[in-house]
């Protein structure tokens, strides 16, 4: 599955409130605060890699496309940048 969208970097729980509709969030891991905003996001990119990480659980519960184990992704991409993620190939490309 391929999804394109604007990036929203999440460094702190307060960043969730800045999420705009259909953004792809890039996060180290999520925490339960995300539940209030999860319907706005189109996909999750997480730096952690465990299928039992909170980000992975949330993605499955809300059926959001997910890429796990994207180490350093928060440094590599910027807020507002357009990216395309391919969940089958586990790739992230900037447009």
């Amino acid at each position: 599955m391929k999804i394109s969208g604007r990036v929203r970097i999440i460094n702190y729980p307060g960043d969730y409130a800045r999420i705009q509709d259909q953004e792809i969030i890039i996060v180290r891991n999520t925490n339960p605060d995300i539940v209030l905003y999860v319907n706005k996001i189109s996909a999750i990119v997480a730096e952690v890699g465990s299928p039992l990480a909170h980000a992975a659980i949330i993605a499955r519960e809300y059926r959001k496309p997910l890429i796990l184990g994207a180490a350093g992704a928060r440094r590599k991409f910027k807020n507002g940048q357009i990216i395309t993620i391919d969940t089958a190939r586990k790739t992230i490309c900037s447009a």
Partner: protein, 143 residues
């Protein structure tokens, strides 16, 4: 904390749930104690790290990765987790009377509840309270 691993090996969900509660209560007690020492603050930090990361993401994940492939009919770990998380009835019906599946499902739900645990301060595993509590006790010469 070795009991958490022991009950995971045994897949004894009742004792596991009780053990998680025991550690959670000790953690809550420590971070609520205004006279808590630096050593006790680090005991709380160890519990937080174990309950919030090592146990769910390494120990429990490894246990599921080893046990789920033993289920019959066969199911991958990803499909098992997706079926439980998104309540996929088509798959869940297949294992409706499968005791091993039910045991693993309950185990996973226990771990998931831990990952979703929000404390009275509204933060995940009371991390906000913990961070303030820990910062107040940090010695000036800490490295």
């Amino acid at each position: 904390m070795q009991r958490l691993i022991k009950y995971t090996y045994l897949l004894d969900n009742n004792r596991l749930a009780a053990e998680i509660e025991k550690w959670w209560r000790l953690y809550q007690r420590l971070i609520a104690d205004k006279s808590c020492s630096w050593a006790q603050a680090n005991e709380a930090r160890a519990i937080l790290y174990f309950l919030g990361y090592i146990f769910p993401e390494i120990v429990a994940c490894g246990s599921l990765a080893r046990r789920v492939p033993l289920l019959r009919p066969k199911i991958s770990l990803d499909d098992f987790l997706s079926a439980v998380d998104s309540r996929e009835q088509k798959i869940l019906r297949l294992y409706e009377h499968n005791q091993k599946f039910k045991q693993l499902e309950r185990f996973y739900l226990l771990v998931k509840a831990l990952k979703n645990r929000v404390a009275a301060d509204g933060s995940y595993l009371a991390e906000e309270t913990f961070n303030k509590f820990y910062a107040r006790r940090k010695p000036k010469n800490y490295f």
